[in-house]
Symmetry: C2
Subunit: 376 residues, 2 copies
C-alpha cells in the first residue's frame, strides 16, 4: 500500500501546488514577484483575520516563534509562558535564551490552560509584557480557546502571542477580534506546503512595541520586513518557489472558505474520535484539538509497536514525544484531507491493532462509527 | 524571447531538480529522510572541502551569516569586518546588532582587501576573535583570495569566517586547507536550487569556540544542529523538498567535479569579459570575480536604461546597488550555465546597447571575442 501521511506536518502537498513550484524560477526583485507577493499578502490577512501585517520568513515555525519573542520583548522584560507540552516549553526556552524573566504556567500534559491561570499569573507578577500561548499543542493534542484567553487579558497591558503553527486554518482564530498581538504559523501544516516558510501576524497596535524592542536581532528584525512590505518586497532573498506554491494553496483555502474549512476539520476530527471510541480506546487529551487525535494506549499496548504496524500498512502517524513516548499515538487530520482519508486511517488502525494482538473489537466497528458521523 | 536569468541568485534551477522536488513530500523523522540527509551531508563536505560539518539551515544566506556571528563570538568580543560592498557591510551590521566591538576595514568598492590590511587590523587591535570576509562581493563583482588571507592569519588567534554565498563552487575554496573556520553559503547560487536553504561549514577545531559562545540564540544555535547531525537529523523541521532537490544538484556538481566547475566558471567569466572589452567598455572591479561581470558604464549611459533594454530582450541582469545604482550593470554567470549562455548574454547586450544609443562598435564584435576564448 502506498504511504499516506497522517503526521501533524509535513502534510500532503496538493498536486496543483507541487506542479506550480516546479515551473522555472524567476527573480524576486521584479514586478512579477511583487504582484505575486502582494496577492499572497492580501490572502494571508484573510487567513489570519487581521487588518495588520502577516510577515513571511524563510524559516521553520520555530524561527517565527523566536521572531515573536525578540520583537515583542526588550532586555530584562518579564513574560509568561504556558507550558503544557513540547511546544509550550519551546516558548519558555526561547525566552530563557534571551535572558527574559519568564514565568511558566505549568499545565498538566493533556489539559488546556484555564483563563483563570493566566489571570492569576498576571495578577501575581506585575509588569508582564507578553503572554506566550499555544492554540493546538501538537505534542499532546490539546486545544486552547484563545478567544477566552483574549477576553481575560483585556484588562491587562501584556501582549498576547500565540503559536498557531498547527492550529491555523483548523480551529477558528480571529486575530484582531480576539486581541491577538502576534500569531505564529508555518507552511507545512494546514497551509499544505513543504516546510520552509514561517509566518507571523502583527496586529496594527503592536508595531509601537516592536519599535521599542531592544533585544539583539538582524534576520528576525520585523522592522526590516515591515519597511519592505509596503512595496511587496522582502529584506532578504525569499524562497521564491515556496511563495509561488503559497499563492496556490492560499487560493485553495479561500476557495473553500475559512468557516467551511474549520467545519471540515471539526467533522473529520469528530469522525476519527468516534472511530477510536468504537474500538474501546480513549483519547489522551481532556481538551482535544481538531488538528490530531492523540490516542491513549491501554496497558500492555506499546505505542512504538503500533506506529510500526500502521506504517507497514501505509498509514503514517506520529508516536508520543518525550514523556509520552510509547504511551500515545497521534493521527493528524489537517490540510489536504477529507472523509475518505479518515476511513483509510481507521481501516489501517483496525488492521494494525489486530496484528499486534489488540483484539477486543469487531472489524469494521471503527470505520462504521466514522461513517455514521459523516452520514448523520 | 523567453527570459534567461543572469542574476547573481536566484539562478536557473535544473529540470531534474525541479521535477524531483515536485514528487510527493515525505516525513523527515524517518529512515528515508535520514538516508537522504546523510548522503547530502557527505556531499556537502566534498563541496566545502572540509572534514568538519556543514550545517543546513532553513533560511536565506543572511540567516547563515547571522548564525556565524552569534556562534563564533561572545558578549563584548572584538571582531574585524571587511567592508568593500553591500555584503561586507552586512557582516558589520550583524556584529553591531549584537553589541560586538567591531572594527571595519574599509576597502574602496571595486577593490579586494589586501592581506596586509588584515594583518594591520589584527596588529593594531589586540584580542580580535574573528575576521569576517567576503569571497565574492556580489554588489561590486570583486573577488578576494581567501588562501592568502588564511596564510596571513596563521600567526593570530582570530577565527576566519567567510561569506562564500555566491562564490562557492565558482572559485576554488578549500575550507580546511586554508584555515577557514566557517564558510557561509546559500542554495540559490551555484548550488542551483530555489532560495530557502542557508549553509555554514564549521571546521573541526571551531566547535570549542562555539561551545563557549554566550550570545543569545535559539534557532541559530549550532550546538543544537551538531547534536542531531550525528543521526542525520535536524533540530527543527527541515525544508524537505529543498533537501530533496539539494541531493540532486549536489550530484550534478560532484559529477562535473569541483576543479572542472571552477575551470568552467573561469572560462565563461573570461569570455564574458572579452566580449565586454570588445565593445570598448570597462569592468568596474579592479579585482574581478568569476561570479559576475560588473560593467562600468561610460558617461551618458544610464545603467537603469540598459537593464530595462536587456530585460526586454530576454536577458535578465542585475543593476548597481546603493552608490553604484545606474553606474554599473552586473551580468552573472554561475550555476547551470555554459558557453552558449554567454553568447546569448553578449548578443542581447550588443542589441540593447545599440537600441539605447551606444553605437561605437560593430555588431558581432562581442560575440566573436567570446567565441575566440572558447576556441582558443
Amino acid at each position: 500500500m502506498r504511504t499516506r501521511l497522517f503526521t501533524p506536518g509535513p502534510v500532503m502537498v496538493p498536486e496543483r501546488a507541487l506542479l506550480k513550484m516546479a515551473e522555472p524560477i524567476f527573480h524576486h526583485r521584479t514586478p512579477q514577484y511583487e504582484t505575486l507577493f502582494s496577492e499572497v499578502n492580501a490572502k494571508l490577512k484573510k487567513l489570519f483575520l487581521t487588518e495588520g501585517d502577516v510577515i513571511v520568513l524563510a524559516s521553520s515555525g520555530t524561527g517565527a516563534m523566536e521572531t515573536a519573542v525578540v520583537n515583542i520583548l526588550s532586555r530584562d522584560d518579564r513574560a509568561v509562558a504556558v507550558r503544557g507540552g513540547k511546544f509550550g516549553e519551546r516558548w519558555y526556552e526561547i525566552c530563557v535564551a534571551y535572558g527574559i524573566d519568564v514565568i511558566p504556567i505549568d499545565v498538566e500534559w493533556g489539559r488546556a490552560v484555564r483563563p483563570e491561570q493566566i489571570k492569576k499569573a498576571l495578577d501575581e507578577n506585575p509588569g508582564v509584557k507578553a503572554v506566550f500561548t499555544t492554540q493546538s499543542e501538537t505534542s499532546t493534542g490539546v486545544f486552547t480557546d484563545l478567544k477566552v484567553i483574549g477576553e481575560v487579558m483585556r484588562g491587562y497591558d501584556a501582549a498576547l502571542v500565540t503559536d498557531a503553527v498547527s492550529g491555523l486554518g483548523v480551529h477558528e482564530l480571529r486575530s484582531d477580534e480576539w486581541g491577538l498581538n502576534m500569531v505564529v504559523s508555518g507552511s507545512q501544516k494546514t497551509i499544505m506546503l513543504p516546510p520552509g516558510l514561517g509566518f507571523i501576524s502583527v496586529s496594527p497596535n503592536t508595531w509601537g512595541i516592536i519599535e521599542r524592542s531592544d533585544l539583539p536581532k538582524y534576520y528576525w528584525d520585523l522592522k526590516k520586513y515591515k519597511k519592505l512590505l509596503a512595496r511587496n518586497q522582502n529584506p532578504f532573498t525569499p524562497p521564491v518557489s515556496l511563495i509561488v506554491g503559497l499563492n496556490e494553496t492560499l487560493d485553495m483555502i479561500l476557495e473553500e472558505g475559512l468557516e467551511n474549512m474549520w467545519a471540515r476539520h471539526a467533522l473529520v476530527a469528530k469522525a476519527m474520535k468516534a472511530g477510536v471510541y468504537a474500538l474501546g480506546l480513549e483519547l489522551f487529551p481532556k481538551d482535544p484539538s481538531n488538528v490530531l487525535t492523540a490516542i491513549k494506549l491501554p496497558e500492555g499496548l506499546d505505542g512504538g509497536v503500533l506506529v510500526k504496524a500502521l506504517k507497514k500498512n501505509g498509514i503514517f502517524p506520529a508516536g508520543g514525544q518525550e514523556s509520552l513516548k510509547g504511551k500515545i499515538i497521534r493521527i493528524s487530520h489537517i490540510g489536504y484531507m477529507d472523509n475518505y482519508d479518515i476511513l483509510s486511517a481507521l481501516s489501517g488502525l483496525e488492521l494494525s491493532l489486530k496484528e499486534i494482538g489488540y483484539t477486543s473489537f469487531e472489524p469494521g466497528e471503527a470505520v462504521r462509527a466514522a461513517q455514521k458521523v459523516f452520514i448523520a
